[in-house]
C-alpha cells in the first residue's frame, strides 16, 4: 500500500474523464484501467469512485447508459459528453501547468 499514492483532490475527475475518453466503460473497469495504466501506482478509492461518477454525470460532463458487460451482464457504462470533452481539454492543460510548476519548484529549491 505504501507505494500507492492517494489521489489529489480533483484529480480523480480528471483521471475518470481521461480513461473513458476512448470508449465507454463501467465503474469497475474504470478503476481497473486507472490502476493498470498507472502501473499500480494509483489506486482509486472505490468508495469515492461512484460519488465522483455521479457528480460528473450530474454536471453533465459524462453520460451513463445501461449496456452489456464483457461477461454479458447489465452494467452502467459511462461516456464523455461533448461538454465533457471540452472540460477534459481544459482540465488536462490545467494539470500540466500545475505539475510543471510543482516540478520546477521541486527542482530549483
Amino acid at each position: 500500500m505504501s507505494d500507492q499514492t492517494d489521489l489529489l483532490q480533483g484529480t480523480l475527475d480528471l483521471l475518470i474523464m481521461r480513461t473513458i475518453a476512448p470508449e465507454p466503460l463501467h465503474g469497475w473497469a474504470i478503476a481497473q484501467r486507472i490502476q493498470q495504466i498507472s502501473d499500480e501506482l494509483l489506486r482509486v478509492q472505490q468508495g469515492s469512485l461512484y460519488p465522483a461518477l455521479h457528480r460528473l454525470e450530474h454536471q453533465g460532463w459524462i453520460a451513463a447508459e445501461w449496456g452489456a458487460s464483457d461477461n454479458n451482464r447489465r452494467a452502467r457504462f459511462y461516456s464523455l459528453t461533448r461538454a465533457g470533452r471540452k472540460q477534459l481539454t481544459t482540465e488536462v492543460s490545467k494539470w500540466e501547468r500545475l505539475s510543471a510548476g510543482v516540478n520546477l519548484v521541486l527542482q530549483r529549491t
Partner: protein, 900 residues
C-alpha cells in the same frame, strides 16, 4: 441551461426516486461481483474473495449516500430522512412533545378560531354572478363620506338605465320573529326590490322571486325564504313554496327559495332568513315614512349592474350629476350630499363600517397574536432548555464530523414538525370553538367554519412559528465548546453569571405579555363595576318586564284591548305596586332630530334628543321623580294635545332652564306633531349602560305611547315581592290573556342593565381567558428555566451543601432567581398596561375616531388591580418554582457532585 438541468435532475429525483435507488444498488452490486470474479480468477477462494471485495469497497451505504449527495438531489432525501429522525426523537421524548404540541395548539388554535370568525365576516364573499360589473351606490353624508340612500333617491338612480342594466334597493337588514309550528324563532329579514336577482345575476333555488306587482305598496305580503334557513329549519322541503308563514305576526306567502351561497346583501357572514318586498315595509314597520326623501333615515342600500360598455368612472360621473341635481331640487335634505359609486368587489358591508370592522379585527388579532407570541417564546424556551440538556449529544455529533449546518437543520426540522403538530391541534381546537359558536342559538344565522382559507392560515402560521421559535435555539444550542462538554463539564464549569440570557429574556417577555393581557381584564372589570355603581335614576330592584307581539294573537286586531287587559291583570298581581305599557325595553331610547319651538333653526346645529315610550303609570313604575308639572297619565290619550315629559338635562339644554313646562317641540320628521312639555323629570340614564359609560350624551324625553298610535309590546311592573317571582307571574298572566301571545323577552331590570354591559363582560372574559392562558404558558416556561438552572447548578449546589449550606439557603438562591425574572416581567407588563390606559384616555378624550362616531370607555389607572395582578403573577411564578427548588434543597451532596 444549467438551471434547467438541475431542475430536471431534481424533479427526476423526486419522481423517479425509487428507480434511481434501484439502479444505484444494481450498479454497486455489479461492481462487487465483478471484483469478486477478478479475485477468484486470481486464485482467491470464492468466500474469501467476496469478503475481500467488500472490504476494499468500504461501506456500501456510505457510497450510496455520497452518490446521492453528488447528484445535488440530496435535499429531498435529506428532508425525508431528517423528518423521520426528528419524528423518532420526538416520539422518544413524548412528554416534551405533548407539552409542546398542546402549548402551540392553544396559541395557534386561538388565532385560527379568531381568524375563522374574521374570515366569515370579512373575507367570505356572497355569490354574485360576474361581480366585476356590480356597483354599490351611496348618497354621501352632508359632511362627506358614504352614507345611506333614501327610497326616492333609489328611484332617481334606477332611472339611469343607460348606465345601469338593473338596479336594486335593499332596506337595512332587521331582526324579526317567525313562527314555525308552535315555536317562535328569531331571524333576519331583508326588504329588497323585485329586481334584486337581476342585479345579482342569480336564479332562485326553487320557485321564483317576487314580482313588481307584489312589491307594490299594500300588496299582500310575499317572501322568499333564505337558502340556509330552508335547509336548517325547513329540512329543504320543496313544499315550502306556496305555504303561508307568520313573520312578525304577519301572514306571508312563500313564493320561492333564494339561491344557495347567496347569504345576504351585505357580506357580514350573517344569513338572511327571509327576503320581503320593500312595498311590505309599512306593514311591518307601522309607518310609510321610510319612503320619504329625508336624509335622517337613509336606510337603503343600492346595488346596480352596469350596462356592458359602462365603467365605474362613467357611472360615478353620471351619479355626481344626479347628486348635484338632487342638492338643487331638495336643498333641505340633500344639500352638500353627493353620490358615490364603488365597485361592489371592494365593499364588504359599507365603506364606513368596513373601516371600523377592520380596526376591531386588527385589535383582536393583536391581542391573540400576543398569545401566540407567548406560546412561541415559550416553545423557544423549552427548545433552548432541551438543547442545553442535549449538549452532550450535540457535541458528540459535532465531534464525529456532523457539520453545524446539519445539526441546525435537524433541530429546525424538529421544531417545524412540532409546530405542524401544534397547528393540527390548533385546528381541532378552532373547530371545537366554531362548532360551539354555531351550536349557540344565536338570533342571527352566522356561518363560522373552517374552510381552505382558514386551514391555509393555520398551516402558514405553524410553519412560520416553527421557524421563528426553532431558529434561535437551534443556532444557540449548537454553539458549543467541544472539549468542555465532552469532558463532562458542560458549561457548568463556568456557571453563567450573565443576567441577560436568551432564556431569561424569553421568560420575562412571557410574564410581561401575560400581565398586559390580564390588565385588560382589569379594565373590563372596572367598566362593569362602574356600570353597577352608576346612578340610574330609576328603580331597578323589583322591576321586571315582558315583551310580546300582539300580531301573533288569535285576535290580532284587538291589540290595544289585549294590552289593556294584560295591564289590568298585572296590576292585580299581589305585591305589584305599579305597572305600565311601553314599547322596547324600559328606558330604551331612540335618538332623533327635534325642532324646538321659537328656537333659531337655521344654520345652527341640529337639536337631538332621545325619546322613551311611556304609557300611563310609567313614572310611578320606574320611580322617576317629577320635578315640575306632572307625569304622563290617563289624560294623554289619542286625540288630546300631544304631551311630553322632558328630563332635567334636556330642559336645561334646549329650554334655557329647568322649568320647561308649557314649552313646545316636535320631532324633525313629523312637521305638525308639536308636543307640549307637561312635566320635567329628574335626570336618569337609559337602560344602555354601555353607552352611558363611554360617555354618549343624551337628552331624554318621554312621550305617550297612545298619542303616537304606537302598539305597545312591553308590560313593565314593580313589585314588593322581588323581580324574579314577578317575572313568573307576568308570564302566567300573559298566557291567560291570550294563549297565542308569545314571550319575546322576559327579563328583570337588573338583567337588562347587566346585558347592556355585554361588551364589558365579554372583553373581561376574553382578556381573563387569554391572560390566564398566557400566564399558564409563562408558568411552564418559568418552570422549565428554573428546573434547568437547578440541574445545571447541581454541582455548585452540591459543593455548597457539602460545605454546610442548608436547604433553605439553596431555596433562597433559587427564589432570588425566580423573583428577579417574575419581577422584571411584571414591571414591564404593568408599565405597558399603564401606557395602554393612558393611550385609551387620550383617544377617548380626543374622540379621534372621525369615521364613525365611536366613543371609548376611558379607564382610570387602578392601583388595586395592578397589585392584584402583580401578586397573582408572583404566585404563579412561585408555583412554577416550587418543584425545582425543593429538588435542589433535597439534593444529596454526593449525588450532586457526581451529577453530569
Amino acid at each position: 441551461m444549467r438551471v434547467w438541468h438541475i431542475v430536471m435532475a431534481w424533479l427526476r429525483s423526486v419522481f423517479l426516486r425509487g428507480r434511481r435507488e434501484a439502479e444505484l444498488g444494481e450498479e454497486l452490486r455489479f461492481h462487487l461481483e465483478r471484483e469478486t470474479e477478478r479475485l477468484v480468477a486470481a486464485g482467491v477462494e470464492p468466500q474469501q474473495a467476496r469478503l475481500q471485495a467488500r472490504r476494499t469497497f468500504g461501506s456500501v451505504e456510505a457510497v450510496k449516500e455520497q452518490s446521492r449527495d453528488a447528484r445535488g438531489t440530496g435535499f429531498v432525501d435529506h428532508l425525508g430522512r431528517d423528518t423521520r429522525h426528528a419524528a423518532r426523537r420526538l416520539m422518544r421524548d413524548w412528554r416534551f412533545t405533548l407539552a409542546a404540541v398542546l402549548i402551540l395548539g392553544l396559541g395557534i388554535g386561538v388565532n385560527t378560531a379568531l381568524f375563522s370568525l374574521v374570515n366569515a365576516v370579512l373575507f367570505r364573499q356572497n355569490s354574485v354572478a360576474d361581480t366585476a360589473r356590480v356597483v354599490d351606490i351611496y348618497q354621501d353624508f352632508p359632511g362627506g363620506g358614504a352614507g345611506g340612500n333614501t327610497y326616492p333617491a333609489y328611484l332617481d338612480v334606477a332611472a339611469y338605465s343607460d348606465m345601469f342594466a338593473s338596479t336594486t334597493a335593499a332596506y337595512m337588514p332587521r331582526s324579526a320573529t317567525f313562527r314555525q309550528g308552535a315555536t317562535l324563532r328569531q331571524g333576519m329579514v331583508e326588504h329588497v326590490s323585485a329586481s334584486y336577482l337581476d342585479v345579482m345575476g342569480l336564479r332562485p333555488t326553487l320557485g321564483r322571486w317576487f314580482t313588481d306587482m307584489e312589491d307594490a305598496r299594500n300588496a299582500p305580503p310575499v317572501a322568499v325564504v333564505g337558502h340556509r334557513v330552508w335547509t336548517t329549519r325547513f329540512a329543504s322541503d320543496p313544499a315550502i313554496v306556496g305555504r303561508i308563514l307568520q313573520i312578525d305576526g304577519v301572514p306571508v306567502t312563500i313564493v320561492g327559495v333564494a339561491p344557495a351561497r347567496h347569504a345576504a346583501t351585505l357580506n357580514l357572514g350573517v344569513h338572511t332568513d327571509f327576503w320581503l318586498p320593500i312595498g311590505a315595509l309599512p306593514t311591518f314597520l307601522g309607518s310609510d315614512r321610510v319612503f320619504d326623501r329625508r336624509l335622517n333615515e337613509p336606510a337603503f342600500f343600492i346595488k346596480a349592474r352596469l350596462q356592458p360598455a359602462v365603467t365605474v368612472a362613467r357611472a360615478q360621473a353620471a351619479m355626481s350629476t344626479l347628486g348635484a341635481r338632487l342638492a338643487r331640487e331638495f336643498p333641505q335634505n340633500n344639500q352638500g350630499a353627493g353620490i358615490s359609486v364603488y365597485a361592489s368587489s371592494g365593499v364588504r358591508i359599507h365603506p364606513q363600517i368596513d373601516v371600523v370592522i377592520a380596526g376591531v379585527a386588527a385589535v383582536l388579532f393583536l391581542v391573540v397574536g400576543l398569545v401566540l407570541a407567548i406560546a412561541c417564546s415559550n416553545l423557544a424556551t423549552l427548545m433552548l432548555v432541551r438543547g442545553a440538556a442535549r449538549l452532550k449529544e450535540v457535541s458528540v455529533r459535532l465531534a464525529v464530523g456532523a457539520s453545524r449546518a446539519q445539526l441546525i437543520r435537524h433541530l429546525l426540522t424538529e421544531s417545524v414538525l412540532l409546530a405542524l403538530g401544534g397547528g393540527a391541534a390548533g385546528c381541532v381546537l378552532a373547530w371545537w370553538t366554531t362548532q360551539w359558536l354555531m351550536s349557540l342559538d344565536l338570533p342571527v344565522n352566522v356561518e363560522v367554519g373552517l374552510d381552505l382559507r382558514v386551514l391555509g392560515f393555520a398551516f402558514a402560521l405553524s410553519l412560520v412559528t416553527g421557524v421563528v421559535f426553532g431558529l434561535a435555539p437551534a443556532v444557540k444550542s449548537t454553539r458549543v465548546e467541544l472539549w468542555q462538554t465532552l469532558r463532562g463539564e458542560g458549561d457548568a464549569g463556568a456557571p453563567s453569571r450573565r443576567r441577560f440570557t436568551l432564556k431569561n429574556a424569553l421568560v420575562v417577555f412571557q410574564v410581561a405579555m401575560s400581565v398586559l393581557l390580564l390588565s385588560g381584564t382589569g379594565m373590563g372589570l372596572q367598566m362593569m363595576a362602574a356600570g353597577r355603581t352608576l346612578q340610574t335614576g330609576y328603580a331597578v330592584d323589583g322591576v321586571a318586564m315582558l315583551e310580546t307581539d300582539a300580531r301573533y294573537a288569535a285576535k290580532a286586531t284587538e291589540a290595544a284591548r289585549l294590552f289593556e287587559e294584560l295591564r289590568r291583570r298585572v296590576a292585580a298581581i299581589p305585591g305589584v305596586q305599579a305597572t305600565a305599557l311601553t314599547r322596547g325595553l324600559p328606558m330604551e331610547s331612540n335618538g332623533m332630530a327635534i325642532v324646538i319651538e321659537g328656537a333659531a333653526s337655521a344654520g345652527g346645529q341640529v337639536a337631538r334628543a332621545s325619546s322613551i315610550w311611556a304609557g300611563p303609570g310609567f313614572f310611578e313604575t320606574m320611580r322617576i321623580p317629577i320635578l315640575y308639572g306632572r307625569a304622563l297619565d290617563e289624560r294623554d290619550r289619542a286625540g288630546a294635545p300631544r304631551a311630553a315629559v322632558v328630563s332635567e338635562s334636556m330642559a336645561r339644554r334646549y329650554f334655557g332652564g329647568v322649568n320647561a313646562v308649557g314649552r313646545r317641540f316636535r320631532p324633525d320628521l313629523s312637521p305638525d306633531a308639536w308636543m307640549q312639555v307637561v312635566g320635567v323629570a329628574r335626570a336618569a340614564t337609559t337602560s344602555d349602560l354601555n353607552s352611558e359609560l363611554v360617555g354618549v350624551q343624551r337628552f331624554l324625553y318621554y312621550r305617550s305611547i297612545e298619542q303616537w298610535a304606537v302598539t305597545p309590546k312591553v308590560v313593565v311592573a314593580r313589585s314588593t315581592l322581588g323581580s324574579a317571582p314577578l317575572l313568573r307571574a307576568l308570564q302566567t298572566e300573559l298566557g291567560r290573556v291570550d294563549e297565542a301571545l308569545p314571550v319575546l323577552t322576559a327579563k328583570t331590570m337588573r338583567q337588562i342593565l347587566d346585558d347592556s354591559l355585554v361588551v364589558a363582560r365579554g372583553s373581561t372574559m376574553f382578556f381573563a381567558a387569554i391572560g390566564l392562558l398566557g400566564l399558564c404558558l409563562a408558568g411552564i416556561g418559568l418552570y422549565a428555566v428554573i428546573a434547568f438552572a437547578v440541574t445545571r447548578r447541581a454541582r455548585e449546589i452540591g459543593i455548597r451543601m457539602a460545605l454546610g449550606a442548608d436547604g433553605r439557603q439553596v431555596v433562597r438562591s433559587v427564589a432570588v432567581e425566580v423573583a428577579s425574572l417574575v419581577g422584571v416581567g411584571t414591571a414591564i407588563g404593568l408599565g405597558l398596561s399603564l401606557l395602554g390606559v393612558l393611550a385609551l384616555r387620550v383617544a377617548g378624550t380626543n374622540a379621534v375616531t372621525g369615521v364613525a362616531n365611536i366613543s371609548l370607555f376611558r379607564p382610570s389607572v387602578d392601583p388595586v388591580a395592578m397589585i392584584v395582578i402583580g401578586m397573582f403573577t408572583a404566585m404563579v411564578g412561585l408555583a412554577a418554582a416550587v418543584v425545582p427548588a425543593r429538588r435542589a434543597s433535597r439534593m444529596d451532596p454526593l449525588m450532586a457532585l457526581r451529577h453530569d
